[in-house]
Subunit: 444 residues, 2 copies
C-alpha cells in the first residue's frame, strides 16, 4: 500500500488525514505533541478562562476510528527529497510516497530571538500556561510589592501587535483585571492595572475594513485598554519596552506581533519568502517535487487579488481537504483536479464579552450579534463534542459571574517561588513602603 | 488589631481563615501557591480524567468576601518564636499575635531522595501533570518502540504503596489503559499494559477492615491490576524496580508509599516523630508556645485508642475550625474551650468506576453504593460551585463514554521531545523490530 506521511496535526494536517479515511493507503500522521490544538481560543487559556484540555484533543483519539491511519508522536528533523524519506529527531526515518507538510508557524521576533525570554508568544499550550502564570503572578507580586513604582510596573501589561490575537489578549486581560479579580486583593486595586496594546502600523486589525477596526478600537478603550497605533517597539529589557514614543515600564510583555513559518523551506532547500513560507504550485505541491505538498501557514500561495493567503485556520483546512482529494485521485488513477481556490468565508475578531467585529462577504457587523456569531462558529469547530459541552458550561458560568475558572499558577521554577518576596533592587524590606511591615516595625 | 497569621491554604488553613471571618483581627493567610487544591481528586488529574483547574481554586478568590482577611502568595522559611515573627523567603518578615501552621505534608522517600527523579509522588498539581505526562508518553513511546522488550518495559506501570492514593492510581491507570486508550493505537495493545501495585505490609489499605481491603483487592484484580502484598521495594533505577521478590522492568514508577510533614518541626525547634510531625497539646498549640498552633498533616496528636490521628482532610478541617474558635475566644476574652476531639466520620476509598469501599461507624459497605457515597462526598466538598458543575459534566461524560478529557502531554522539556525517537541502547533503528522501518527498508 502506498504510504502518505502527514507532518503536523493542526487544522490542515488533520483535514488531510480525515479526507483520506477511505483511501487505499497507509496514512501516517506525525506531530511533535500528542494533541490537536484549537489555537483560536488559546488566548482564553492564557487569560485563565479555559483549561488547556478544553481546547485540545489527542490527535490519535480524533483519528481513532480510521483504521488505515497511524498517529506517531515524533519530531521531524529534515526531508530527504532524493530518497523520499522523512528524517526524525533521534535518527529514525520514514519513507513516503506522498508527503504533506502542514507544520504551521511559530512566533517571530524579527531577528531579536533574545526577546523570547522577556515576551512570550502564543502558539502552544505551554506558551499559554506560561503567559497565564506571568499574568497571575504579576498581581500576586504587586500585592506584596515594595513601593508604588514597582507595583505600577507589575500592573502594566504591554501587548505587542494589534492583530486579532493581540486584540483578544488585550481585551481579555482587561476583563480579567477589571472584572474577575476586582474584589480579590486588599492592597492593590486590579482595576488600576494598565493594559497597553502597541501596533506598529497606523491601525490595529489591519486586515479588517477601517470602519470595523475603528469599532474595535472604541470597544477596547471602553474596556480600559490603551491603544497605541503607529508606535514601534525598539527594545525590550527586564525593565520594560522602549518604543518610538517613549519608555513603558512593565514586567509583563506579551508578543503577538508576528509569526514565521516553521523550517520547512530549509528541509526542502527552497527560497522562502520574508515570513519563511514555501512557494507552492496551484495544486499545493512544491515545484519539481510533485509528491510533496505544503499547506497552511507554511505555504505561500497568492489568493484573489494577488495577495498571499493569510495564515488562518480556514485556509489550512480547505487546503487540507483539497490535498486529500488530489492524493485520492492519484491513488485511484482518476484525472487531476482544478487548481486550489480559497473560498473566503469572512473574518471575525472578538474584543471582549459581547463585543466582536465580523466581515463576511459584503456584510460588516459589530457588537453583540458579531460576538454571537463568533461564539457559534468557535463552538461549531471545536473538534470534540465533549470539549464543546465543557466549554459551553465554562462560558455560561463565566458570563453570568465574570469569574475565571482556570486561575492557576503552575509550573513555577523553584527559585522563582523562593524569590517572590525578594525586595526590589534599591529598596529594603525595612523601607517605609514595604507592605509586610507597614503596620508595625521592629528591629530585626 | 491583633494579627493572625495562617501558613498554608489547604483544608486546615482555609477552615481557620473561614472560622475567623467575623473576628476582630487582621487575618493573613500565606501559601506558596496561589490555589487551594482538592487533593483527594489529584489522582484524577494524574490520570487525565480531570483538568487541574477542575480541582483547584485561587485561595484569594475563596476568601474574597472576608474583608478582614488578606491572602499573600509567599513561602515561609522559618519562625522566630522569640520575636513572634514569621520569616519569608526573600528576607521579609511578618509579626504575628497568633500563628497557625497548616503546612501539610510532602512525599517521603524514606531517605532515598534520589528516587524522586525516578518515581514522582502526588502532592501538587505539578506532580500530577508530571505523572500524566509520563503515563501518556509511555504509550506514545511504546507505539514507536524498538523491540518487544522495550515496549513491555514502557507499558509496565508500578505503583509503590497500597494506601488509598496508590489504590486509586492503580485502578485509574488500569481503566485508562484498558478502556480509554483501547482503540487509539495501532502497533501496541494498551490492554496488554501491566499495572502493578506494590505494598510492603501484608495487606493493601491497612487502615480499613480486612474484609473491605479484601474486597478492594478483588476489585483491583478485576480491573487488571497485579497486587503484590508483603513485597518491599529495595532499589529504583532507570531500568525498573528491585523488590524483595525480584526485579520489575518498568519505566513508569509512581510513588505513593509515604509522606512526611513539612519542616515545621525545624522552624519550631521541637523533636518531631518519625514522620516529621510536631507533637501538639490538647488545644493544638505547641508546648510552651501558646500563640502557636499546628494542625493537619503537620501535627501529631493522639486520637481515640491512643493512635495518632491520620493525615486526612477531615482531621485538618475539624482542627482548623477548632483553632479558629480558640483564637476567637481569646480575642473576645471568653473562656477556653475543651480539648480538641476528632469526630471520625468514616473512611472511603475508590478503586474504579462503580467500585469503592466505605467504613463509617459500624457500617461497612462496598461496590456501587459505596462509590455513589464517594462521588457525593467529593462533590459536596469541592470548594467552588463552578468546579462542582464542571466536574459533574466531565464525570457524566466520562462515565458514558469511558473517555478521558485531559489527555495532554505538556511541559515537555525540549530535549525530551527531540529524543523521543531515540532508539533504545543496544538496538538500532535499522533493526528488524523497528516500527518505523518494518514495512520497507532501504539503506540510509
Amino acid at each position: 500500500m502506498p504510504r502518505v506521511v502527514i507532518v503536523g496535526g493542526g487544522f490542515g494536517g488533520l483535514e488531510v488525514a480525515k479526507g483520506l479515511r477511505r483511501a487505499p493507503a497507509d496514512v501516517l500522521l506525525l506531530d511533535r505533541s500528542n494533541h490537536h490544538l484549537f489555537q483560536p481560543l488559546l488566548y482564553q487559556v492564557a487569560t485563565a478562562a479555559l483549561s488547556p484540555a478544553d481546547i485540545a484533543a489527542p490527535v490519535r483519539s480524533v483519528l481513532r476510528r480510521q483504521r488505515n491511519t497511524q498517529v506517531l508522536m515524533a519530531e521531524v528533523h529534515d526531508v530527504d527529497l532524493a530518497g523520499g524519506r522523512v528524517l526524525l529527531a533521534g535518527g529514525a526515518s520514514l519513507e513516503y510516497d506522498h508527503l504533506v507538510l502542514a507544520t504551521g508557524s511559530m512566533t517571530s521576533y524579527f531577528g531579536h530571538d533574545e526577546w523570547e525570554r522577556l515576551a512570550p508568544g502564543l502558539k502552544t499550550i505551554d506558551d499559554a500556561t506560561r503567559i497565564r502564570r506571568n499574568v497571575l503572578l504579576a498581581f500576586e507580586r504587586a500585592e506584596c510589592a515594595d513601593g508604588a513604582e514597582q507595583m505600577r510596573r507589575l500592573l502594566t501589561f504591554v501587548i505587542v501587535g494589534g492583530g486579532p490575537t493581540g486584540v483578544e489578549m488585550a481585551g481579555s486581560i482587561a476583563e480579567l483585571a477589571h472584572q474577575a479579580l476586582r474584589r480579590d486583593f486588599r492592597r492593590i486595586n486590579p482595576q488600576s492595572a494598565r493594559i497597553i496594546l502597541i501596533e506598529a502600523s497606523p491601525s490595529i486589525l489591519g486586515g479588517f475594513e477601517p470602519s470595523l477596526a475603528r469599532h474595535a478600537r472604541r470597544d477596547l478603550i471602553r474596556l480600559g485598554v490603551e491603544v497605541l497605533e503607529g508606535v514601534m517597539v525598539e527594545d525590550l529589557t527586564d525593565e520594560g519596552v522602549s518604543t518610538s514614543q517613549g519608555f513603558l515600564a512593565s514586567q509583563n510583555v506579551i508578543w503577538a506581533a508576528g509569526v514565521r513559518a516553521t523550517p520547512v523551506a530549509r528541509w526542502l532547500q527552497v527560497q522562502p519568502d520574508r515570513m519563511g513560507r514555501v512557494p507552492v504550485e496551484p495544486d499545493l505541491t512544491v515545484a519539481s517535487h510533485p509528491k510533496v505538498f505544503v499547506i497552511g501557514d507554511a505555504a505561500l500561495l497568492a489568493g484573489p487579488g494577488g495577495r498571499p493567503l493569510p495564515g488562518v485556520s480556514p485556509v489550512a483546512m480547505q487546503q487540507g481537504r483539497y490535498v486529500a482529494k488530489v492524493i485520492l485521485r492519484r491513488l485511484t488513477g482518476e484525472g487531476s483536479l482544478p487548481p486550489f481556490r480559497y473560498r473566503d468565508k469572512g473574518m471575525l475578531a472578538t474584543i471582549g464579552r459581547g463585543r466582536a467585529i465580523a466581515q463576511m462577504g459584503r456584510f460588516r457587523f459589530a457588537g453583540l450579534f458579531a460576538w454571537l456569531v463568533w461564539v457559534f462558529v468557535h463552538i461549531l469547530y471545536l473538534v470534540e463534542f465533549r470539549a464543546r459541552l465543557i466549554v459551553l458550561t465554562q462560558w455560561a458560568w463565566a458570563y453570568l459571574t465574570w469569574q475565571r475558572g482556570a486561575r492557576l499558577i503552575t509550573g513555577l521554577p523553584e527559585e522563582q517561588t523562593r524569590t517572590l518576596q525578594q525586595p526590589a533592587p534599591g529598596s529594603s524590606s525595612e523601607s517605609e513602603s514595604s507592605p509586610l511591615e507597614t503596620q508595625r516595625k521592629t528591629p530585626s
